[in-house]
Symmetry: C2
Subunit: 415 residues, 2 copies
Amino acid sequence: MSKGIAQLSQEMSAQLSDSDIPKGFRFAATHCGLKKAKLDLAILVSEFPASAAAVFTTNQVVAAPVVLSRAHLKRSRHQMRGLIVNSGNANCCTGSRGDTAAASTASKFAAALGDVSPSQLIVCSTGVIGAPLRVEKILAAIPGLIQSLRSDAASFAQLARAIMTTDTRPKWAGARYSAGGRQIRIIGCAKGSGMIMPNLATMLSFIATDASISPAMLDRALRAVVGPTFNSITVDGDSSTNDTAAVIANGQSGARKIASDNADFRKFCAALDSVCKSLALAIVADGEGAQRVIEVEVRGAPSARAADQVARTIANSPLVKTAFAGADPNWGRILAAAGRSGVRFNFKRVDISIAGLLVCRRGGETPFSERVAHQKMLASFVPVVVDLRAGSSTARIWTCDFTGEYVYINSSYRT
Amino acid sequence: MSKGIAQLSQEMSAQLSDSDIPKGFRFAATHCGLKKAKLDLAILVSEFPASAAAVFTTNQVVAAPVVLSRAHLKRSRHQMRGLIVNSGNANCCTGSRGDTAAASTASKFAAALGDVSPSQLIVCSTGVIGAPLRVEKILAAIPGLIQSLRSDAASFAQLARAIMTTDTRPKWAGARYSAGGRQIRIIGCAKGSGMIMPNLATMLSFIATDASISPAMLDRALRAVVGPTFNSITVDGDSSTNDTAAVIANGQSGARKIASDNADFRKFCAALDSVCKSLALAIVADGEGAQRVIEVEVRGAPSARAADQVARTIANSPLVKTAFAGADPNWGRILAAAGRSGVRFNFKRVDISIAGLLVCRRGGETPFSERVAHQKMLASFVPVVVDLRAGSSTARIWTCDFTGEYVYINSSYRT
C-alpha cells in the first residue's frame, strides 16, 4: 500500500467509527419484506451532486436494474445523487414488468428525495433470478427509508448488511489520505459469496468518497483498480447477471479537484485500490462454504493474458479447490489444470510452491514433508506460486477452497 | 441405434457371457501391489496382428505412457498386438524415470509374449499424478499375468475392474451385428469418474473387436464416434493427463475386410458408436458423488460450435450442477451460465425445459409446478433443453450433479 494511506478493514478494526465516513453522505436500510425478517432494502444518498463511475457484469443475461442504471449514468453524464439496492430478488429474467419495477423504484425514490431526478439514481438488485420482484414492497418502504437517513457509521454498516444474500458477514473497507492539507475519506461495502467470477465488475460494491474528482477521472480510476482487485477473484467461475461496482465522489472533503493524471489522482487511485482489494479479498474469504483464501500467482508466463488464463484455470478447477478443502498438497492437479488452460508451455520446466514450500521442481515431485505442507495449508490464507519459466509475465487470482458446505448451500438455494 | 445391432450394457444385461467376447482376444488382470488388495494391473492381447486406433488427451501435461503409446502406434503403423494398463499411479510428471518405466513395461511385456515387439503394445496408467511409479511391481507381475490369459467373459470383466480408481463400479458395453453372413462382436470397457472433461479422448477406454478393418478406416471410425460420445461428457471440467481411448480390431470374425466408406463401414461405426455411447454415459452416471445424469441439449444455436460452447458452459457450471443435486428447477442459473458462455444470443427469446417441463419461456418464468418439477428431477436421468432461438444448430452434453460426496472424495484423494 502507498505511504500515507490509512486503511481500515474488518481485520484491522472491529468497529467502524463515525469519523471514517466521508462528508456529505447519508445511508439507511430497512426490512421491506422481500426476505424474511432481515434487512433487504438500503439507500445511499449524496447531499450534493457527485461524480459517479460504475462497472457492470459482462454476462449477456443482465438484470433490469443493470440496464436502467447504465442508461441513468449516461443520461446524467455521470453526475449522480445516490443509489437504492434490494436483496432477496435479482429482478432478472423478469420481462417488461421487471423493467417497469426498476424504473418505478427510481421514480419513487427521486420523488421522495425531492430535488433529484430519477436518472441521477443507480438501482441495484441481488438475489434469486427469474422470480417476479414484488416492487410494491420496495415502493412502500421508500418514504420511511428517507426519514431514517443518517450520516453515521452505524447506518453505513446497515447498508453493508442489507445487501447480503448467502454472505455470512457484512463486508466493508475504508481508507483515508491527505492531499493539499485536506483529509479525504473513502468507504466501501460489498456483497458476494456465490456466482462469483467477476468480469469487469464484482457482485455488488458501493464506494463513497468525499474526494473531488471529475467523472472522467473517476471512471479511469475505477477501471484501473477493478482489474487487479474485483476482477481477480473467483469463487465458482459463474459470473452473475447483476454485478455492479459503483463509486460516488461528492467533493465534500474540500480538497482540490482532480481533473488530470497528477499526484492527487495517483493518491486517490492508491486509496481506492486498497479499499477494493480489501473488499475483493473479503468476498473470497466469505465464499460459499469457504474455509480459506488461496492466492494463485503465476509467474514466468509468455504474456500477461497467458498468465491470467493459467491462473484462472487453476483457480476454477474443482479438483484443485477440493484438494485445498482437504489441505492436500496435490500439485499434480495444479499442473494438470495449467496444462488444459490453452496456454503453451513446457511442463517439464514448471516449478510449483504451496504455502511457501517447493513441491514440484521442473515438472516433477521434489522431496517435501507432506505433514508440514498439510499443516501450512490449514491456514486461512494459502499462497500458491506456479512458475512456468516460459516468459516474464505474472498474474494473481484469489480463490477459495471448495467444500461440502458450498454444495449444501447451492443445492437448496431457492427452497 | 441402428437396426440390426444388438447392444449389451450393464443396464441391459447383468452378466456378460462368453459369447459376447470377440474372437482371438485374451485378457488377464492381477493385483501387483500398486493399490492395496485390489486389481491394479491388466493386459489385453490379440492372438493375431490387429489394426489399432487411439485418441489421447489434449492436455499439454501428458503422462509418460501416453507419449510412449503415441510413438508405438506410429512406429508399428497402427498394427498392434495388445495393451497393458495399471491403476493406482498415473506415471505422470515423473521425469525421465517415468519414461523409462513405461518403456521397460512394454519391453518386458513383449519379451514375455514372445513373438511381439514392444512397439506393437500400448501402455496406459491411471491414478495419482506426480508420485514415482514402482515399476518393479509391474515387471514382476507380467509373467504371471501372461500365464493367466483367458478368452472368456470373466477375464474381460476383471480387466474392466482392474482399471478402476474412484469408480464405484466397472463399466463395460458390447454390441454385435452381422455383415456378409458373419457375426461381428465389439466389447469395450472404460474407467473414469473424476477429472472428466475429455477433449478428443476420455479417461481410459479399451475396445476390442473381431471386425476386419484397415487401420485407416478404424482411425476414421474412432474419430467420428468419440465426438458425440466420450467428448460429450463432463464430470468436473478437468481434463486428465492420461486420457486414452483405444480400439483394436483383429479380423477374426472372418467378415469381409472394411477398407473404404461402404455399408459394412457404416454398420461398424453404428455398433462402435453404441458401445462408446454406453461407456460414456456409464462414466457420467458413475461420476464422483453423482446421483443423476443430466443431458444438456442446446437447440437453435447460430452454429454447432456455439451450441457446444453453451452446452459445455451449462454442463460445467457448479451452480447448475449443485441445483440438480438438490433437484431444484433453478432455470435462472442455466440461463445465467449460457449468458457467460461467450456466444451471442438474445436472452429474451430463450426457452428452457427441465425433465420435460417448460420452466422458462422467452427468457422469463412460465408457470409450472415446483413440486412436479422437483419430483421429476429426482430421476436418475434428467433431460434439459435450452432453445436459444438464434439459429438451427444443436449440441448435446452429458454431465452429472455436483454433490457433497464429490467434495468428500476429492478433498482427501491422495491421503
